[in-house]
């Protein structure tokens, strides 16, 4: 094995790393913003709110992300009306298609995590809030969400790592993320060990960093639950 190839191509790998982190962070932010209202709707007693969201969650969790990204990037080109509309500026770019697919996917998984946490809110806390005369909105804002989001931190940490690993699919639709960079190095030098082991190490380091950040967050936000 000749790891000097990797040293020569470090700039390419770091550029890929940049794109990977960028895709990850943007989709996580959009996904989180979507997930909170979706989770509230999925936890609602009103079927008109609950059922559509549950269908959305079921579909996005039940199909491979690869299919979702293919439908958005390759599939939508089937429609002439879309190709002729303004929206095509967005949908013709692999970058935006990747972000849309990742964001919707993580929104579904995250909404499911938050929904579970919302439903597990202790009854007493909600009764206390009602006794204080809080409206439903105030209950969510001051009691239910702060507590549910805190309790979701460990599960959400897993989701973030899952999303990091899912970003490799950007490399499948022609983008040069960390995985795409490794693919280029492999095809240029026929060096699968050097290229994919290096990329793997990069991913391992990011994974450990995310685990570490979430440990810190748990120590900070979940101190009261520690025994």
């Amino acid at each position: 094995m000749d790891f000097s190839i990797i040293l020569d191509n470090l700039p390419l790998l770091f550029k890929g790393l940049g794109l990977t982190l960028q895709l990850l962070i943007i989709s996580l932010i959009i996904g989180f913003i979507l997930a909170v209202p979706l989770a509230i709707m999925a936890a609602s007693r009103n079927p008109w709110l609950r059922i559509p969201v549950k269908v959305f969650i079921y579909i996005f969790r039940g199909t491979p992300l690869l299919i979702q990204i293919f439908i958005i990037y390759y599939g939508l080109s089937q429609f002439d009306w879309l190709r002729e509309s303004v929206l095509w500026v967005v949908f013709k770019e692999a970058y935006w298609c990747a972000i849309i697919a990742f964001a919707l996917n993580t929104a579904a998984y995250t909404a499911e995590i938050f929904r579970g946490a919302i439903l597990q809110t202790p009854k007493g806390e909600i009764e206390a809030a009602e006794a204080c005369g809080m409206s439903r909105f105030d209950q969510y804002r001051h009691i239910i969400l702060p507590s549910a989001l805190r309790r979701s931190i460990p599960m959400y940490g897993n989701e973030v790592i899952f999303m990091l690993h899912a970003t490799v699919l950007a490399g499948v639709i022609t983008l040069v993320d960390l995985f795409g960079a490794a693919k280029i190095i492999n095809s240029r030098y026929y060096a699968p060990f050097e290229s994919f082991i290096s990329a793997g190490l990069f991913y391992l380091v990011i994974t450990f960093t995310i685990v570490f950040i979430f440990k810190l967050a748990e120590n900070h936000f979940l101190k009261h639950l520690k025994r």
Binding site: G62, P64, F70, Y74, S77, H165, V168, F179, N186, P192
Partner: protein
Amino acid sequence: MFIPGTKTTMSETFGGYLPMILKGMVLTVEVALLSLLLSLMLGILAASARLYGGSVSKTIAGIYTTVIRGIPDLVLMMLIFFGGQILVNKVGDKLGWDYIDIDPFVAGILTIGFIFGAYMGETFRGAIMAVSKGEIEAGHAYGMTSLQVFIHITFPAMIRHAIPGFFNNWLVLVKTTALVSVIGLEDMVFSAKVAGDSLRQPFTFYMLVGFLFLLITAASDLGMRWLERKYSFGEEK
């Protein structure tokens, strides 16, 4: 012959490509089941090593679970697919074999089995730890050997605790099989690409395959309920 706009029978609806997609689906299920088998074996091995093994096997199993869960599946698949080819070529040169092509089918199953072995290992480890100490002690008190205790007591009792995690792993595994299309295996995603490109209907075919994945998921759901009922005997409701 297929004439656009004259959709009459089921096979013509998808331009005659439905049999090909269904053939791909069979391959997807095959890959999934064989990977599952490999992952179960590796999982039990990894869990036993972490719980009962000496310090060396504990460390190896610990590194296995951590590394596998820290690296994206596709990177591992590429490593095994392309790297495996180089290894086979090198060994083949030394031993004077003819050229052996690494099959994407084998590479896919090895990778997916290898990855989910790590997840199954963690599921089994948790499940084994959830088996009550008293049952195991009772077994020993009856003069059973450690192996007998594991086969007759720990293992059956562990399965009940492992079902939810096992099922979750299976669902993720089924979805992961879609990746074998990237290394050129003609599974249902690959077939959808071929059909969609030639008919210029990629959306239709990827949607169809997405629906078929949901079908597998729903069938698995029924399977899990049956398993849960089967293994919930003697449990307090």
